[in-house]
């Protein structure tokens, strides 16, 4: 087990270095000189430009610059935003909880609806119910969520006036950030109005971001359940005279869940990609919104650092899923 762990951890090191190299290249490939970009449209005297380039080490060979960049990352320094002049890491830290809150809510939504959908479809295989659920699921998987988000806003916010259009909480409330999760912080403040406001802001983005995971979970659960329901131990359980529901939930679902959880864990990347679109539509102040804004403002240090952080996050989650799976299933440890 120890060697399995060690090998997996060591294996991601070259990937990580490659990821840092890509993010390093980004700033050099983007049109325009990093210093000139920093000074924007105001321009800068050529003399000063040479000095600043020398100070920043931009006149050195590329490999030396990469070495410096690696050392900088190792110190946890990802550079400063060109627009706000704050460290990229600090900005990420304050924005990430918003993305995490939205992502967790979306996964919760997807699991709570998707699991029962998949189980019911598998148990009632071939029925109209099965076809209906799977039709919904394949439609969900094909959904352009940027359009879906706008349609949901059009119907529920603009048309019916049920929910707010954007943001995390109403302007009337000021919530001291404590956990960074608006819902928890609002709860903590003992203001029921604030909790309701936070919830109503959260609900539409959750549905939009959760749609594709919901479709994936429903389909995977169904096929995984179908496989498990054909196993001998299910027949044994039924033969023992256990009730149908107990066999399905306790015996079958527990085993069917393993592949579902694994595939889901490996889809953080997809989820974060969806978060970019969802946050843009709902002006949700998270990492995705931040990255898109950084492109529009030509804030390349933010794009560079943010991309690196998001990729590292995906890598860590994948490693975690991998290790957990190895822990649960000794056969793949080798």
């Amino acid at each position: 087990m120890f060697f399995f762990l060690l090998r997996r951890v060591v294996q991601i090191v070259p990937t990580f270095v490659g990821v840092t190299f890509l993010s390093f290249l980004l700033i050099h490939l983007v049109p325009g000189d990093p210093i000139e970009v920093r000074f924007g449209e105001h321009g800068i005297a050529p003399q000063r430009l040479v000095e600043l380039r020398h100070e920043a080490g931009l006149d050195r060979p590329l490999w030396q610059q990469f070495g410096r960049y690696e050392l900088q990352i190792a110190r946890g320094d990802l550079g400063d935003s060109v627009v706000t002049h704050k460290p990229v890491w600090d900005e990420f830290k304050t924005l990430f909880p918003a993305t995490l809150e939205l992502s967790l809510a979306a996964i919760l939504f997807a699991v709570v609806l998707g699991l029962p959908m998949g189980v019911i479809a598998a148990v009632k295989r071939g029925s109209a119910f099965d076809y209906g659920l799977m039709g919904i699921s394949v439609t969900g998987a094909s959904m352009p969520i940027f359009w879906w988000g706008l349609m949901v806003v059009l119907i529920f916010s603009v048309g019916l006036g049920w929910t707010p259009v954007s943001g995390r909480i109403g302007d009337a409330y000021y919530i001291e950030p404590w956990s960074g999760f608006m819902l928890i912080d609002a709860w903590w403040s003992d203001d029921t109005g604030a909790v309701r406001s936070a919830l109503s802001h959260l609900i539409l983005p959750t549905i939009v971001l959760g749609t594709i995971p919901l479709a994936t979970i429903a389909r995977m659960t169904r096929s995984s359940m179908l496989e498990v329901l054909g196993e001998d131990y299910i027949r044994t359980a039924r033969a023992k005279g256990l009730s149908g529901a107990r066999v399905v939930v306790v015996h079958a679902l527990r085993n069917a869940l393993i592949p579902v959880v694994t595939v889901l864990g490996l889809q953080v990347g997809t989820l974060l990609g969806g978060a970019i679109l969802t946050e843009t539509i709902f002006s949700w102040p998270g990492v995705g919104h931040w990255l898109i804004e950084s492109i529009q403002r030509r804030d390349y240090p933010v794009l560079q650092g943010g991309t690196l952080l998001v990729a590292s996050l995906v890598m860590l989650v994948n490693l975690g899923v991998d290790l957990t799976y190895g822990f649960l299933n000794p056969r793949i440890r080798r």
Binding site: W147, G269, G274
Partner: protein, 303 residues
């Protein structure tokens, strides 16, 4: 020879007498109603896309100055001249959607061809060369996979500059690893077979072994992946268009149309609803078709 049958299976001729395995494939495929629906929608899109200039009532970029934001025909104030209404500068939405269909199919085709051929070469090279080459190629693919695909596409477009062509390159790069991995995995399992050894002993060159002997036998999963890749490519390119990084206005690309609608969609639902619906239906068609292909080509699922 089974490989040739695999390729032919993509386009079952309508009523010509079918050879045995093709008929068998078609029977399996036709059993799946969703897949047939997908195929039908695909053919419809193809016809509409090919005949865009003939079918569309107006030019996709012509601005009718007296007809801003005309609602669809069935709504009060709508007219038959603009069946699905007009946008904020008086362009006919139906005509734009029809030309958008052509564009989307082209995007899907270009991205899949680019990504699939590059992925095939990389995957075969990795499988045949083994050792360091294999490790380097696959590690590179791992690095690409670590980035959320939309984010990487955004970064690539930020480097290359916004535009439809660059967006297609970005999406092709992002989807490259799935093809490379697939080709490598199936090539490796074929390499262990006797017929490969036999061909090698008969003196076939490595290139011949790669493309003539092994590749045809890896085609079935590639075809499935390719048809699913079509929908992924259309979706990602539309997302880039929506973010203002793909096709630029006035190109009638569906995602770009949605981006243009952002300012006023709350007053005119039709400028929002139809382009998105077009994306959804197209992506759905390719997904249904791809799923059907997989079920029909996968011997494990055959009853």
């Amino acid at each position: 020879m089974s490989a040739l049958q695999g390729t032919a299976a993509v386009n079952p001729p309508a009523n010509a007498p079918m050879p045995g395995s093709l008929r068998l494939f078609w029977r399996g495929f036709a059993e799946n109603r969703g897949a047939v629906l997908g195929l039908g929608l695909m053919l419809l899109l193809l016809v509409v896309g090919l005949l865009a200039d003939v079918v569309s009532p107006h030019s996709p970029i012509e601005q009718f100055r007296e007809h801003f934001l005309v609602p669809p025909v069935w709504q009060h104030g709508g007219s038959l001249i603009f069946p699905l209404g007009t946008d904020d500068v008086g362009r006919d939405i139906l005509s734009r959607l029809i030309h958008g269909a052509r564009l989307s199919l082209l995007i899907g085709l270009a991205v899949v061809v680019l990504s699939l051929s590059a992925g095939t070469v990389l995957g075969l090279t990795a499988a045949f060369a083994g050792g360091t080459t294999d490790i380097v190629i696959m590690r590179l693919m791992d690095i690409v996979l670590v980035f959320p695909s939309l984010l990487l596409a955004i970064v690539i477009v930020a480097i290359l500059g916004p535009g439809l062509f660059n967006a297609m390159i970005a999406v092709a790069i992002v989807t490259l690893p799935s093809y490379t991995r697939l080709v490598r995995a199936s090539a490796l399992s074929e390499l262990a077979r006797d017929y490969v050894t036999a061909t090698r002993c008969a003196g076939a060159s490595t290139l011949r072994l790669m493309f003539d002997t092994v590749l045809p036998n890896c085609l079935a999963p590639l075809i499935v992946q390719g048809s699913l890749g079509f929908s992924a490519a259309i979706l990602e390119a539309a997302a880039l268009g929506f973010l203002g990084l793909g096709a630029q206005p006035p190109t009638p690309e569906w995602g770009t149309m949605l981006a243009g609608a952002l300012q006023y969609y709350q007053r005119a639902w039709w400028v929002l609803a139809f382009p998105g619906l077009a994306i959804l239906v197209t992506v759905l068609a390719f997904n249904l078709f791809g799923d059907g292909l997989r079920d029909a080509l996968d011997p494990k699922l055959k009853r």
